[in-house]
Symmetry: C2
Subunit: 336 residues, 2 copies
Amino acid sequence: MVARSNRVTIHDVARAAGVSVSTVSKALNDTGRMASETREKIKAIATDVGFRPNALARSLLSNRSFTVGLLTNDTYGRFTLPLMSGISEALVDHGVSVFLCAIEDDPALAKVHVDAMLDKQVDGIIATGKRVDRSLPVDLAGLPVPVVYAFTEGVPGSVILTADDADGARLAVERLRKVGRKWIVHVTGPDSFVSAIERADAFRQAVGPEALVLHGAWTEAWGHEAVAMLWGGDKPTPDGIFCGNDQIARGVVDALREKGVRVPEDVSVIGFDNWEIFADQTRPALTTVDMNLKELGRMAGLTILDLAEGRAVEAGLRKLPCKLVVRQSCGGDREI
Amino acid sequence: MVARSNRVTIHDVARAAGVSVSTVSKALNDTGRMASETREKIKAIATDVGFRPNALARSLLSNRSFTVGLLTNDTYGRFTLPLMSGISEALVDHGVSVFLCAIEDDPALAKVHVDAMLDKQVDGIIATGKRVDRSLPVDLAGLPVPVVYAFTEGVPGSVILTADDADGARLAVERLRKVGRKWIVHVTGPDSFVSAIERADAFRQAVGPEALVLHGAWTEAWGHEAVAMLWGGDKPTPDGIFCGNDQIARGVVDALREKGVRVPEDVSVIGFDNWEIFADQTRPALTTVDMNLKELGRMAGLTILDLAEGRAVEAGLRKLPCKLVVRQSCGGDREI
DNA sequence: AAATGATGAGAAAACGTTTTCTCACGTTGA
DNA sequence: TCAACGTGAGAAAACGTTTTCTCATCATTT
């Protein structure tokens, strides 16, 4: 309930042990020369009085703050949180803490946050966003600390980590084929999204020349609409639908159910994102492509650490493979 | 592309200006005595060479790091992100950055994070979680820094901020009454949740002795089930349904639509949480209670700041009012 | 003309560490 | 017996700031 700083410093330990602060420092860091009894005694006393070195003082000297910044404009957190979780998990073992800065597409706010982090001597900055083909509203080039871009557009020559959309599409098609689907269509988001394009291209490549890709919004409503279109004409209806995200997939599955089409018996559906809140709640639960965002976060964390510690890292765009999470909407889930 | 620390320090400024570091410091901080020309000249030179004071060095001296920690076990981020957003928004103006630590109900991990933050001399810690009636798996009492609990259980005598569940329930009932509903029921989550209990109690108090509360899971499926029960017997069916969260509400609305019951013409539905991804996508879009989590975050941020700066703060549980977000599922939305 | 006071600016200490340098002491070898 | 050497431990500098103290210089007053 009191005062300034009752925190125990290295001086307190030195006094308690009857030695100098240098000796304490060397004892605790296992450096320097000294009698091993002295070392052990000092260590014992240090833990006894609950000494924990002040990281700030240490950083001042070492030029390493064991702190990194995560800059994001994904306020909703759909992508940022798994990423954050991976970053944190990878770095906590190295004693590194993460500043989270939510900048909402506001350049001024972004600058304030970046400056604050630089002032606090972060060892590096990880930039992330909600769209792979958009960059944050702040220029991170030429900063005095390394920068890694994860799931957002980065400047040329920088390190950019992202999910391999094409791989995800291939995984989905492969699965649909494996459960015996012949006429597979792709219902996805607007073709103004690079992710949508890349998935669609890979989809076309995997399915062949007759491939059908329907672009729309990233919404349930578009899923409903697409089903209405596909089942509305007199053309043959597909037996497999690969959706651009889980919301579309949810719309598709609901629409099919309302139509009396059985999923997965009559039609197999695969989503994208593995957003559990959607994938799990859909009836039947969605088989869906997971972008491994947590793993992407781990990679980003370890990469920024490499850079901070001066190790060489290959620049350029690096795409991490996706994985398929099998639930019920595609069928074939019991065969395993 | 090189070396150690090209960062410009106060010494560089002093050299460039031909004065001592003390003079520079006083010039930039508008303290001390000096000719105003000197002051201005130094300021000009400082911005010229791009000097930014090293916050670490400053912190070492002032015992203030302008850094707080946010501890959460809400990996999904449903509650943490709006809170975080509010905290960050409130604190960025004061130059304070936020460490986000995701501890997944793992006491050891929690301790590691807390220790790392303490070593880094955070000015305070905000604890938050996914449930108001559960505490984090780590003891935050007796820490050398102030702690504020937001949306999670705190130790007695601490500062605890949370949403006023009863207020939310009252808002919902009030609205349903206002649009002319007479027979209102409450479909909510398990009665093992304090939130569910408090809302249910307030609901009963507002509706009267004949109030009907149905407890189930926090899922869409339970919404469907509840509708099946309510419309299954030969009792009169309700014309207003207040749901414990937006997922239940979504289930209820979907089930009613499938039944041919019109929302909001025949039945008004109100949700809880204002989880936009659900509230917006439901047809019709959900009128729902918003817990003002961002505001709660702001309060938490300002409170921790007050405590860090030694201002007195009243301990105890503080409940922040909710607000109703009007969309279409309740009706009466066009009257305004 | 001397004493007083105001003004401008620098020196030094401090924050809590780590690291390098120095030194006293005791042991070994010739 | 003396030089050389190894060992244990402390002194001091350094990191980049802020703050207190001291001290010239110059203008004002008597």
